[in-house]
């Protein structure tokens, strides 16, 4: 275990920054999001949740994939090589850290995504343990320990001190020059956090029946209509979600060519996977169902029971009309399955 | 007496747009104090417009206006001559020492039939 005074964080970041960019929670215009560190950045490691999740570091909202150039009637194609330099993602909470595993299953299995893979390969993930879970937190349901998140290195902030533990070589490289430390304060904090976790309102959700075996049962449940009634069809839940990974590939005509890029898409949108014949999810009921069926049924049934929800609680906090996955689990879950 | 009071000053104080006047004379036709006045309401309008402010300021007409607002009410173009007259009066009062009436004048003016209210309002109107 290593340690660093919170006051010296800037110095440490500055040192890392000499060789690689650091991506961490930064406050800008009153909101905390992941951003690239500069000496002027307002670092907010204390923020429990960033608005958007840490997935941006590997899967940004918009990214260019190829360019077409037109010169008169001639068209040339230019592929974009996903060259990525080493970088650090720092301050990742346990839930977001877990989301990388889920995203890996999607992007690193066949067909392999070179853009995502390049970023994963060149990244070092430094996680941050939670000391003060929120009422909306329910990561514990998915086997996540917020007091001991996985990563190349893990941080605990206790009072004015950051404690660090490296778990991989990459992590070790970052912390090796720091001072050694006693593990007692960290253990004390962990105990406290785990105690709170026991008391979390959503700490013990009944996920029984959310699996491939009950797929049609869940799919045909009449409660979807009621559950989705207030849904505005906005993309807030999907865009703040650390595990949502759907994207659309679009062309932008620059006037002298075309840029083909991908951008996040949301299954809540009426034009999600829209095809020439129209859409097979014509109303918000189907779209709403799609999102939660994917997280709780389709994904686990294809991934050995791994849910594609990490319980970060962002959708609970951010849904304009207070709809969320917990309400779905409670309505459809448990004994009824 | 050089007052340096300009047309613009009077227009600003009064908020009147003299260009709206079409010189129909209805204000003077309706004025109950017409015979008392050297310059009549419609003359105020064009005299202000043409910068003849000094003459108006020197004239007793400004004290003869009853401020009954008949001209203002009847004017078809909403020119509001009464406000111009009031503005000229204001311009005079604003000159130091130019009060038309002082406290000392009052006892001599007192009459049994004169309501107290009239004296108070006269003070307001003729003195700063």
């Amino acid at each position: 275990m290593k340690m660093l005074k919170l006051a010296n964080l800037g110095g440490w970041l500055s040192a890392i920054n000499e060789t690689q960019r650091v991506y961490l929670p930064i406050e800008a215009a009153d909101q905390v999001n992941y951003g690239v560190w500069t000496p002027d950045s307002v670092v907010r490691l204390d923020a429990l949740r960033t608005v958007k999740s840490a997935k941006d570091a590997f899967f940004p909202q918009v990214e260019n994939m190829m360019n077409f150039k037109t010169e008169g009637k001639n068209v040339s194609v230019e592929m974009i090589d996903p060259k990525v330099e080493n970088f650090v993602v720092l301050g990742v909470r346990a839930c977001d850290a877990k989301s990388f595993e889920i995203l890996d299953r999607v992007f690193l299995s066949d067909p392999y995504d070179p853009f995502y893979a390049a970023r994963r390969e060149h990244s070092t993930v430094v996680t941050l343990a939670c000391g003060r879970p929120d009422e909306n937190c329910f990561c514990v349901n998915f086997g996540i320990d917020p007091a001991d998140p996985k990563g190349d290195a893990t941080m605990w902030i206790v009072d004015d001190t950051i404690y660090l533990r490296a778990s991989t070589e990459k992590g070790e490289a970052l912390v090796k020059d720091l001072e050694d430390a006693d593990t007692a304060p960290v253990e004390a904090q962990q105990a406290k956090t785990r105690e709170i976790c026991e008391k979390l309102p959503f700490g013990k959700l009944n996920l029984k029946g959310f699996d491939g075996d009950h797929l049609m049962e869940k799919f045909n449940n009449p409660k979807w209509a009621e559950l989705s009634r207030a849904c505005l069809g906005c993309g807030t839940c999907t865009f703040v979600c650390p595990t949502c990974q759907c994207y659309d590939i679009r062309d932008f005509d620059t006037g002298n060519g075309v840029q083909r890029y991908r951008c996040w898409d949301s299954c809540m949108y009426s034009d999600f996977t829209l095809m020439a014949h129209g859409t097979n999810r014509p109303t918000q009921v189907e779209r709403f169902r799609q999102r939660f069926m994917h997280k709780l049924v389709y994904f686990p049934s294809n991934n050995e029971g791994m849910y594609s929800c990490v319980g970060c609680g962002r959708c609970l906090a951010k849904c304009p009309q207070n709809l969320n996955i917990v309400k779905v689990i409670k309505a459809l879950g448990g004994d009824e399955a | 007496m050089s007052n340096n009071i300009t047309t613009e000053d009077i227009l600003r104080i009064s908020g009147v747009d003299t260009r709206k006047c079409m010189f129909c004379g209805k204000c003077s036709g309706t004025c109950p104090a017409f015979d008392e006045m050297e310059y009549h309401p419609h003359q105020f309008v064009y005299m202000v417009q043409w910068g003849m402010i000094d003459k108006l300021m020197e004239s007793k007409s400004i004290y003869k206006c009853l401020t009954c607002f008949a001209c203002l009410e009847r004017c078809p173009r909403n020119v509001q001559p009464a406000k111009l007259i009031e503005a000229v009066r204001q311009a005079v009062i604003r000159q130091q020492g130019m009060n038309h009436m002082t406290e000392n004048d009052i006892p001599g003016l007192l009459e049994d039939k004169l309501p107290q209210q009239a004296i108070v309002s006269a003070m307001r109107k003729y003195k700063k």
Binding site: K69, F252, T254, G255, G257 | -
Partner: protein, 146 residues
């Protein structure tokens, strides 16, 4: 393609068919010069100008956008330019609010008889835009690449 290193402004002029486009034609037949940076798009009436078209022009690299229509009261369609006037006032004010120089947008009423006014307006607008320089605040970088 010849590469022109010297920056020249791009100006889009939307002209209503009945007054201002004819005014532009008259400027032409009177041989009244104005910069070639001004390119005219004919629309039936000033009220046809959708704010989207203006933003589109800026996106694609325009440095100034001007709308010309019949004088208020003379609209071929009686009321079109009155609506255009309100829409443009509000749009320009919004752009200004966002910190975009409102001098990059303009509305002028030019009748079919005002060829000289058309040319003078375009000369003045082009001069203003040249002084303001390249539009960087409202452009789309993707359109400037290549």
């Amino acid at each position: 393609m010849p590469v022109n290193t010297e920056w020249k402004p791009k100006i889009v002029a939307f002209c209503c068919n009945w007054c201002s486009y004819a005014g532009a034609d008259l400027a032409g037949s009177s041989r009244l010069a104005y910069p070639a940076d001004v390119k005219i798009i004919r629309i039936p009436c000033s009220c046809r100008l959708n704010p989207l078209f203006i933003l589109r022009a800026f996106q694609r690299g325009a440095d100034g956008v001007i709308l010309c229509g019949c004088h208020p009261g003379d609209c071929h369609y009686s009321t079109g330019n009155y609506y255009a006037r309100r829409r443009m006032t509000l749009l320009f004010s919004m752009l200004n609010y966002l910190g975009i120089d409102s001098r990059r947008t303009r509305v002028e009423w030019v009748s079919a008889a005002e060829g000289a006014k058309f040319a003078a307006t375009m000369n003045d607008f082009a001069k203003t835009i040249t002084e303001l320089g390249e539009n960087v605040k409202l452009g789309d970088l993707r359109c400037k690449e290549n």
